[in-house]
Symmetry: C2
Subunit: 202 residues, 2 copies
DNA sequence: CCTACCGATCGGTAGG
DNA sequence: CCTACCGATCGGTAGG
């Protein structure tokens, strides 16, 4: 994280919890682990936070909201279908790279949410995927894309995007926008060189 | 799983543990949860298994071995570089789809391995990734692929492959070989239709 | 394979 | 923010 100053106590707790949840997983992270990282006792955390799960909820729903806001923006733009897909890949990449730890927790630990929350979360996740598939559908209808199983294609792209947190290093040569552009280029155009006269078979 | 008969007690324990580790995560699965699924008491499991972690170790290293065996086979084949990449995508897909639960555990829970084992595991994982990058390198040198950051490309492909367990349904219309071929086609060739005269820019 | 149990650790609270 | 503590649950064992 770039700025560790100017954080409220509550924000510092959430920041350190995010890092621990990512490293050890939610279930294997104890409030005593978290307290040690913060230089305090476990009981003291509860002055700022209602429960361990409350922290997880904030992380998961903050990320879910960021993803769906960006998707809505792109949907409402007047880009071409293929332009929308490229744009959403870039925006999704930027959200992930902005906070890799929170993205990893969002992606790997949401299953530990309890009953009313996990249903809300899955609903948001499903809605996001459906809208994503819809953008692929539009691209196929506008003849930009090969005709394939569009859900299959959507899941392929989402898997590639949601794996970013496992290898992206902020110190690397590419900034988030560039990473997103490169991903969009490879996913949409493929990694194979295009030849002058080819037919897309084999 | 297709065949649940003819399993030793130990195999039944590992099978149910794999499913639970996938659903709830390793840390959140108790030996009492597992015992309940098996219709026995927690203490009884220890007649067949040394520890909870031993089960995780078997799952993780079995999958790791399957992946690296397939990779070695493909490396030693006399396929072209691009043929090798296509083949390894298909073989990787087949290993994952053959046991989705074990794949999910392999991918999400290895961080709970303890000290000597986690180092061995990470070594195998790194070796696999390096060999994968090497196949991309060869394809670029043989002029089949666009010149890009090859590690970047490798991680994109591996992310896409390792996301399969999150959406693949064995009841679906495509069998594993077909899923692998479709993935290879989309990753290598891209999702965009190829036009007669294009230059790969924009 | 079960009963009965161990010490350790968990999330969380009361009272200051 | 700490001390001192609660009941619950954990992985694992002994003895049958």
């Amino acid at each position: 994280m770039l700025v560790k100053d100017n954080l409220t106590r509550k924000e510092r707790i959430e920041l350190k919890a995010t890092e621990l949840f990512r490293e050890k997983g939610y279930a294997a992270t104890s409030m005593r682990d978290l307290a040690a990282k913060l230089g305090m006792e476990a009981g003291s955390i509860y002055s700022h936070v209602r429960s361990k799960e409350e922290i997880l909820q904030k992380i998961c729903f903050r990320m879910a909201n960021e993803f769906s806001e960006k998707l809505t923006e792109v949907e409402n733009s007047n880009l071409s279908p293929i332009g929308k897909l490229k744009r959403i890949i870039i925006e999704h990449t930027k959200v992930i790279t902005k906070d890799i730890s929170a993205s990893a927790v969002f992606w790997n630990e949401w299953k530990h949410l309890s009953k009313p929350f996990i249903d809300d979360f899955q609903l948001m996740k499903n809605t996001y995927e459906e809208k994503f598939i819809d953008i692929i559908d539009q691209s196929v209808k506008s003849k930009d894309f090969k005709k394939t199983d569009n859900k299959f294609t959507a899941m392929l792209i989402l898997s590639a995007l949601n794996g970013i947190h496992q290898w992206y290093k902020p110190e690397g040569p590419m900034n988030p926008e560039e990473v997103g552009e490169q991903l969009a280029e490879l996913l949409i155009g493929g990694i194979k060189k295009k030849l002058k006269h080819n037919n897309s078979k084999h």
